[in-house]
Amino acid sequence: MNFDPRFSGRKFASVGTRPIRPDGVDKVTGRARYGADFNMAGQLVGRVLRSPHAHAIIRKIDTSKAEKLNGVKAVITAADLPDLTDGDAGMYDILDNCMARTKALYDGHAVAAVAAVDARTARQALKLIEVDYEVLPHVTDVDEAMKHTAPVLNDAVFTEGLEQKPVKPSNVAKRTQYGHGDVHQGFAQADFLVERSFKTEQTHQGYIEPHACVASVSSDGTADLWVCTQGHFVYRQHCAQLLGLEASKLRVTSSEIGGGFGGKTHVWAEPVALALSRKAGRPVKLVMTRDEVFRASGPTSATSIDVKIGARKDGTITAAEATLRYTSGPYAGMWAELGAMTAFACYKLDNVKTVGFEVLVNRPKTAAYRAPSAPMAAFAVESAVDELAKEIGIDPVDFRIRNAAQEGTRASYGPVYGPIGIGPTLEAAKHHPHMKAPLQVNQGRGMACGFWFNFGGQTCTDLNIGMDGTVSLAVGTVDVGGSRASLSLVAAEELGIDYSHVKAIVADTSSLGYNDMTDGSRGTFSSSMATISAARNAIKILRDRAAQMWDIPVDDVVWENGQALARGEKYGNLSPLSLKEIAAQSGKTGGPIAGHSELVADGAGVSFATHICDIEVDPETGATRVLRYTVIQDAGKAVHPTYVEGQYQGGAAQGIGWALNEEYIYGKDGRLQNAGFLDYRIPVCSDLPMIDTQILEIPNPNHPYGVRGVGETSIVPPLAAIANAVSNAAGVRMTHIPMSPPRILAAIDAERG
């Protein structure tokens, strides 16, 4: 029987409740093991030497002095990671990013690494490595990098996506375009036009746990890797390919994760640690410092975006256009493309056009960050939408409701929407008490909408029923946001047993089939689908065993409320058999009872949110204070509502930091000036109000319970919502994120002359 993923509208017993989290006690007592908590006998300390230059040719690396230092067991450079990528350009970029091959492309780019008996020796060894650099001119700003006069990072890059292949290389790796209709015609019908340019600075995911791993390569070609990651199966594939190992012989175990937000979907230190271990013949532990995390891992794109939107007097948008330029670090990416796809996804538009440019700069390789690329596009678009509403004289919520996409709307990025939540979140915002909260002098209110696709993908799950009737669930999607609790609820729901009798773990790569990583808000969506499927497969076996125990045909056994029932009057005297009773007899009825599932989870429902916030601005200093913040988002079905609320609040908190203070600051020398949490200012607790949440449930028709991903959309509206609130409070349109106090004060002073 094939698995039917369609929404069934069933009533729930476990799903939708709020039991305590299964990982809570370990996390608060320190028993939980994070990336740096694994240790092996004889393990060495790995450290990485990084380029101090933003752009430089590596003429020569002399490691001889470091190799002679007592206690040093291995020194590696790019020569120890030969190119095995076989023409795969994406993998080659990953390899080059892990260890610079011919050029250092950003401040912090790895150029060599050592493994030594202790940290002190490793640090000393790094000082003994001599790198002969030829420093080149660099460029870090997105608009500067697009100029013809900019230093070109890679002579082999000719802009893709143009009608004619350019004759000269440039820093623009790719042009993409989305949309439909005719924007020129649309703008001609408009009574009002808003046209503005926006900039956003580069931010880091800011996970509290730095990248950490322990690698152990045996001389027989097998290897183990313990690592903090969002996707150990993907890490296995990448590492195996880069190191020339067979995937089945590299066993990767994921640790607990102290935050990822997309930043732990890419390998950096892991291939280096494996190469060091292979050379040293001993396990190697490699933990990044915070400085390295900022300089070499993670960040999102810096952007420059132009938006033009036109509307008629009645408030109907006639055309919308955006040009989006996103930095991707020194390697090509698809970040501007994601911005171009998401920019106008909230709206029903007859004429829409978006163009994205992927821009290479001397900054770390851009990595995914929670709904990657969508927040910046939403900032530009939702700022312009707000301004347009003001010009027309319509309430900004009503203006958005009038133009909101609906079921059947053709999205600006192509597909036609099924049932969606943008309209309902806007209606909920309109009637939310937050909208009526009084505002004082220097205070302003802003709101904005956001969209994210959500992904599904390859998923594999095992459900094993113990002889005591308890259930262990092995999943392959790393738990970054409470999926073990949610998946336990789903297993309990499907089997009809209590949540406390289910224990979920994240299995290693040798224990389960391949799983895509936990990104795209897919963890609970896809693994719950696989868990439902696995549980239904187990139920088939449970029914079969009950039939054996009763000696009746299996077709006459049904599964209800955690027990087998004999169907039909003729079995009237048979009492139901509970899961526990069947499990206890399993040794005599055919052996262990388990359900397995492997599937591609299609049909991840798109996700929409509307945020409202109130900000106070000190007009004399530009200081801001977030007074109130409300998140309204469609969850499809909230499996564990507390976790869903946590995702809403977490995305908003990160968005607030991004909007107000977080940014990569580069000096004229191309070096990062603020590679630490002191001067890279994420919000502290006292910076935030209690973030209010409202969960809407518009079922996803492609999931048995109606679940949609919820993890990412919450970071999409904040930049725009806060920019609209600050603009209203300060009386001047803010167009540059972050709106740090010096930027706000300068804008106020410029406005007032």
């Binding site: 200093t621 203070n661 600051i665 001067d679 502290v684």
Partner: protein, 286 residues
């Protein structure tokens, strides 16, 4: 690396003076340990001064207060007498780092770290505080503003330790206040700051004033012209405007990751005006 914990100031001075390699004084360690961990310094000798008699005490004397070099900012904040006499100094000390850091850090450490952005220093300078310096050639008392000579540099010579900070007994109708600007609400470094200390007469006319600015120049600035703008006047709008203008003009700030020149100039004036208003109220002015 050698760690010692001497019991007398003389022993500590002797050990520091006799050290062959780089030596460091450890009180709370909230700067020292961070710099060691970051690999910025590798001292051969660490002299922990917390066991030295008297250094962990706040003494109230006929002349005022003597705050030992090992008194943590958290302990400072629990002294009711000090809070009453010098609320501006205490509020500045209580802004350093986080609650946890305040349990370790000291105002002498804050002074000797010689950051232009140190929170307690503008308040101490405004308060006219003095530092008692003990060294191989004896004891001397100097103005707090004479200690830092530039970012990370002090006027202390080899073997010298600041034993205590002295604050005068309070004249009647006096008040002080300290304000700093940070983009967050806590756990941050001042982008710019101002300490104001005022004494007024019965009519509310300012008799004495000291105004100091932080993060506005390579060292804390004592702005005498700002004091002149207030002395002999009530703290009316005109006086406050003049104060703000003088303070903005006195700044010699830089553009850096924490703020721009224009921002620091403008906000220095704003903070001086606001701190003066608070200090005036604390002095009993209306």
């Amino acid at each position: 690396m050698r760690y010692i914990r001497p019991l007398s100031i003389e022993d500590a001075v002797g050990q520091l003076a006799g050290a062959a390699g780089p030596a460091a004084i450890l009180a709370g360690g909230s700067d020292l340990l961070v710099r060691m961990k970051g690999g910025f310094i590798e001292p051969d000798l660490i002299v922990d001064i917390k066991a030295i008699e008297g250094l962990s005490e706040i003494r109230e004397t006929a002349e005022g207060f003597s705050i030992g070099a090992a008194v943590s900012c958290a302990v400072l904040g629990e002294s009711a007498a000090l809070k009453k006499a010098w609320p501006g100094v205490v509020e500045a000390a209580k802004l350093i780092g986080s609650k946890q850091v305040q349990g370790r850090c000291t105002i002498v450490g804050n002074l000797c770290n010689a950051s232009p952005a140190a929170d307690s220093v503008p308040a101490l300078v405004a308060a006219g505080a003095k530092a008692v310096v003990v060294g191989p050639s004896g004891k001397r008392t100097i103005a707090v503003e004479a200690v830092p000579t530039g970012p990370g540099r002090t006027s202390l010579t080899k073997g010298e330790i600041i034993e205590a900070i002295l604050l005068d007994k309070r004249a009647p109708r006096s008040g002080d206040a300290y304000l700093r600007f940070i983009p967050r609400t806590e756990m941050d470094i001042a982008v710019v700051s101002a300490g104001v200390n005022l004494t007024i007469d019965e009519q509310g006319v300012v008799k004495a004033a000291r105004i100091a600015l932080g993060a506005a120049a390579p060292t804390v600035l004592l702005v005498e012209e700002a004091a002149e703008a207030l002395i002999g006047r009530k703290l009316d709008e005109a006086a406050l405007e003049r104060l703000a203008k003088v303070c903005s003009g006195a700044c010699r700030p830089i553009d850096d990751k924490r703020g721009t020149i224009e921002f620091r100039r403008k906000v220095a004036g704003v903070l001086a005006r606001r701190a003066a208003t608070t200090a005036y109220k604390r002095a009993g002015g209306k």
